[in-house]
């Protein structure tokens, strides 16, 4: 369209109104990634996530190490959820090598995984707090995390990178008096969780900021392939622990947390409620666990997998986490493919941020339960 304008007058170009912002990787609110955000005034016109700043080639590294040597480096992508990222690897390798896991080891694994899930969610919640400018909500979960870190330290000897789950069971047995200590700390933690509700989730400013922002409808959540708490916050009752129970989850008493709203508030509230369920699982597992017995099936030295392929997945703190392992009669796997929840949730960020205000960016971004290091692997 070429309308003749009077001399001296020109139309404003759309590009003149739009400012491109590089949120990250040095931005305090980005994590190890970059968001290329275009804003028109206070509104986000487009968002282009740019992950890959912490790609470490975990999958390729796994091809040069044997099945036992792979354990410590495969937990690095999410060091504060290390049991859950190792869980499907152990399950897959057990399938591959045909190992039977002792009954007590299964319970110990579940306890370790749920303790680690709480550690992850608390860390996530702390950062969600500071992203919204709530510094108390940063300090409280970061402090209460110590309860579970201490428990896992007693179990495995390491505070952060536990490498506790191994193919064939767990690395070592529980220490003496662990059950009492675990019960005491979990009960105390449940009391603390109720205080979080009062200071954070019932806070009127928090509700005004997160409710009705970044709404992800049920159909969109399924269509975009989201997983974990994002999917459950949009009203889809899907939890790998319920749908494809592994180890002893089918014997344990817990529920899936589902919310219908699909906004940032629901996405931040679902992990919080899941911590209650995790506490329930831990207490139930402590009750039902065999009081003695072996916790590890010894493997042959340098075990070889057959000419086979296997896929196993678990529910991690960020959603379904699966390992696809191909073996070709060698001590090392031929191919290890890690399918993580973070990367699947990243895809809905451009959809959710489009049309939002710039101030909603941290509220929506971090509610997606996205851990950049895990997504890059």
């Amino acid at each position: 369209m070429t309308t003749q304008l009077p001399p001296g007058i020109s139309l404003e170009k759309v590009d003149d109104r739009i400012m491109t912002l590089n949120v990250g990787p040095q931005h305090p609110g980005s994590g190890h990634m970059r968001l290329i955000i275009k804003v028109d005034g206070d509104y986000i016109v487009s968002c282009d996530p740019d992950p890959g700043y912490v790609h470490r080639g975990e999958e390729k590294m796994a091809e040069y190490r044997n099945y036992i040597q792979n354990i410590p480096h495969l937990e690095r992508p999410v060091i504060h959820d290390s049991s859950n990222i190792l869980y499907p690897y152990c399950l897959a390798v057990e399938d591959l090598l045909g190992i039977e896991v002792p009954e007590r080891a299964k319970y110990v694994r579940v306890i370790a995984a749920e303790l680690n899930r709480c550690i992850y969610i608390l860390y996530w919640l702390a950062i969600y707090g500071i992203f919204l400018g709530h510094s108390t909500m940063f300090m409280w979960p970061a402090g209460d995390r110590e309860l579970f870190i201490d428990l896992l330290e007693a179990m495995s000897g390491a505070r952060v990178t536990h490498a506790y789950l191994v193919p064939g069971g767990v690395r070592n047995d529980l220490p003496a008096n662990f059950e009492e200590r675990c019960l005491r700390q979990v009960n105390y933690f449940e009391k603390r969780l109720k205080e979080y509700e009062a200071i954070f989730y019932q806070n009127p400013i928090l509700k005004a900021r997160t409710q009705d922002t970044g709404i992800l409808s049920k159909t969109d959540a399924i269509r975009l392939g989201t997983t974990g708490s994002v999917l459950r916050a949009s009203g889809v009752d899907y939890d790998v622990r319920k749908k494809e129970p592994y180890d002893v989850y089918e014997n344990l008493d817990f529920q899936t947390v589902v919310m219908k709203e699909g906004d940032s508030y629901a996405r931040s509230y679902v992990p919080y409620l899941e911590m209650f369920e995790s506490c329930r699982i831990i207490k139930d597992a402590l009750r039902k666990m065999p009081k003695s017995g072996s916790v590890r099936t010894k493997l042959k030295p340098n075990p070889k997998g057959g000419n086979d392929e296997v896929y196993r997945r678990v529910e991690s703190g960020r959603g379904a986490l699966g390992y696809y392992i191909v073996s070709n009669n060698r001590p090392e796997p031929y191919r290890v493919k890690i399918s993580v929840g973070s990367f699947r949730n990243l895809i809905c960020m451009p959809y959710l941020l489009k049309g939002e205000k710039l101030g909603n960016m941290p509220a929506v971004y971090w509610s997606l339960n996205y851990w950049p290091v895990e997504a890059d692997r």
């Binding site: 400012m19 206070d42 919204l132 400018g133 108390t136 409280w140 806070n203 400013i205 005004a208 941290p362």
Partner: protein, 433 residues
């Protein structure tokens, strides 16, 4: 590595110190003292009370409290003392420093931490000094494409404006740096400079984050300045004056907060917004726009901005005290100065020393200052408290609050004040006045 941070040895440190002291003493005694005596040789020394004023006599007089106290007292009534020390910068900076320390400990207690702990042995009391030295020793980095003169002058202007604001706050009867008859208008005029400084620094830094932060600061401060001014109109109507000292005197029997709690609430919220504190710290929202309009400031430029912010905090809390909490008014709790020291002097063994000019401060002033400090610290703590329990709001929410709700409440308050005035309850010639 060793060239950047050589290994620290206490013995070498002490040796270098004694080395420096040795050379200073040597140069002073060999070069400085002869120069002093040569100069003294040509100067005609004055004769005071029949005594030749030699340098030794001057030093003797300085060490004698009965001669030095009157000099100190006369110095205390000069303008420079007021500007630099007591109701002015020194007092405000001391309170601001105490505020920063209290804020950090207070927030730490809310968040189940310990706060500053090590610096200064006792509960980290010297932490602030350490931070100050750190800021001074840091490099000041100027962005390459910044508008350098304006960028440099921004923090200085900020501290200057905050200092001008501090100078208007009356601390005790008669103790105020500047006492214009339109004091409240002067306060509004001073506050009006802050958005301009924010936008100037933001624009001159030539960065996107500072630009967005500066625009946010501008929007927020302008949206909250109007309810700020309107909320104080009721007090002006009822007290019949714009002078801050006279407003304090008008609260001899009743504090204005008892009749205008609505106005106090509106004013308190606008204070938090003007100070850019949580929950209204949008211009510095770190997870959205790095540090807002402060992003490019480094080293002591940032330190100056922080100093200005805390001076502003003290000044706003002081203004709240002056307007709503009766300023320096309060029951007399300061003990009177012991009269026998004035009449008889102090006897130590065989010597009886009399100190003319005591007491340095009268009892009324000390009592007023005590009440002012107590009330102001209470208000400051109330301003700090939301930081521990609230997240940050969004820019549209804050503008909506400012332009709709607070202005409405401020107008309601004005009608209440007018009602009280025309009903003859309060105000000049009212029942309770």
């Amino acid at each position: 590595m060793s060239t950047i941070a050589p290994e620290f040895r206490l013995s070498r440190f002490i040796a270098s110190l004694t080395d420096i002291i040795f050379w200073v003493l040597l140069i002073f005694s060999l070069v400085g003292l002869p120069i002093v005596f040569i100069v003294l040789f040509y100067i005609k020394l004055p004769v005071i009370n029949g005594q030749l004023m030699t340098p030794y006599l001057a030093m003797t007089w300085m060490a004698d409290p009965s001669r030095s106290i009157p000099i100190i007292k006369s110095f205390m009534h000069t303008t420079i003392f007021r500007v630099a020390v007591f109701p002015g910068f020194g007092f405000a900076a001391l309170l601001a420093a105490a505020t920063i320390y209290v804020e950090r400990k207070f927030l730490a207690k809310i968040q189940l931490r310990v706060g500053p702990l090590y610096c200064g042995k006792i509960e980290g009391i010297l932490q602030l000094m350490g931070d100050g030295f750190k800021l001074m020793s840091k490099e000041i980095i100027i962005p390459a494409k910044a508008d350098k003169p304006i960028f440099w002058i921004g923090p200085v202007l900020f501290v200057g404006t905050a200092g001008a604001f501090v100078s208007l706050i009356p601390v005790a009867p008669g103790w105020v740096v500047a006492n214009p008859s339109v004091g409240l208008l002067a306060v509004f005029a001073t506050i009006g400079f802050f958005p301009i400084i924010a936008v100037l620094s933001a624009w001159s830094a030539n960065s996107k984050w500072t630009f967005i932060g500066g625009l946010r600061a501008l929007h927020q401060m302008i949206a909250f300045e109007i309810p700020l001014i309107l909320s104080l109109l009721g007090i002006v109507i009822l007290s019949g004056t714009l002078n801050l000292s006279q407003i304090v005197q008008s609260q001899e029997h009743y504090w204005w907060i008892t009749f205008m709690p609505l106005s106090a609430v509106v004013f308190f919220i606008t204070i938090i917004a003007e100070l850019e504190r949580i929950p209204f710290d949008l211009p510095e929202a770190e997870s959205e726009i790095v540090a807002g309009w402060l992003t490019e400031f480094s080293g002591m430029m940032y330190g100056l901005i922080q100093l200005g912010t805390y001076l502003k905090l003290y000044a706003f809390a002081g203004l709240f005290t002056v307007l709503f909490l009766g300023g320096w008014q309060g029951p007399s709790i300061w003990p009177p100065f012991p009269q026998e020291i004035i009449t008889q002097g102090i006897t130590i063994g065989p010597v009886t020393a009399k100190f003319p000019g005591l007491p340095l401060f009268d009892q009324e002033m000390l009592n007023g200052t005590l009440w002012f400090v107590i009330k102001t610290v209470g208000v400051i703590l109330l301003i700090l408290l939301p930081r521990g329990v609230f997240p940050r709001v969004r820019i549209d929410m804050i503008l909506h609050t400012g332009w709709y709700k607070l202005i409405g409440l401020a107008f309601i308050n004005i009608f209440i004040a007018l009602g009280l005035l025309y009903a003859g309850v309060l105000g000049p010639g009212g029942l309770l006045h």
